[in-house]
Symmetry: C2
Subunit: 107 residues, 2 copies
């Protein structure tokens, strides 16, 4: 899997995991965050490797559909750029820094 895809899935999972079932969350978290193989997850849950694969593929598609509809990741990336420009502009002024920090925490 490409690094780019892994990074994207990590972000989408982060933004939309509250909309997934607990099984979906477990598989995705083991696969993408803890770097388990499909076979290891299958063993852990006493199911077939194919079942894990299908579940993860479906979850990935769901995450992409949520992103298409809600654009949380895209907006996050756009905000990030603007925060950088704002930080440059306010040039380390502590009050501005702490307000921008507060905004970043909301993402």
């Amino acid at each position: 899997m490409t690094l780019e895809k892994t990074t994207r899935m990590n972000y989408l999972f982060d933004f939309y995991q509250s909309l997934l079932t607990s099984k979906q969350k477990s598989y995705m978290s083991l696969y993408y965050l803890d770097d388990f193989s499909l076979g290891e997850i299958a063993e852990e849950y006493h199911v077939s490797r194919q079942a894990v694969y299908d579940n993860i593929k479906r979850t990935e598609a769901m995450l992409e559909q949520y992103e298409e509809k809600l654009l949380l990741f895209k907006k996050f990336q756009e905000r990030k750029k603007i925060f950088e420009e704002l930080r440059k502009l306010t040039d380390g002024q502590p009050e501005a820094e702490s307000l921008i920090d507060a905004l970043e925490k909301l993402d």
Copy 2:
């Protein structure tokens, strides 16, 4: 219906309408944005007033569930306050204003 509830539903609808079916969107939009009565919507769609009522109640509950999970409205309100403070702090400096405008547009 209280003004507070109407305002809240308008916002939740705005944030999560992409996750609703087209029928849900139509009813909610007529009821909350165009101020149609349940009876008027029922007539328009050739269904019973009760069917419209049930659909709208279910949609309202779905919107509240999405908000519980994703907190888009809550975060929007928190950002709004911080934008105000940032505007005061940067005191009408045009470059800062336009960056804050760009952030607000992303909400």
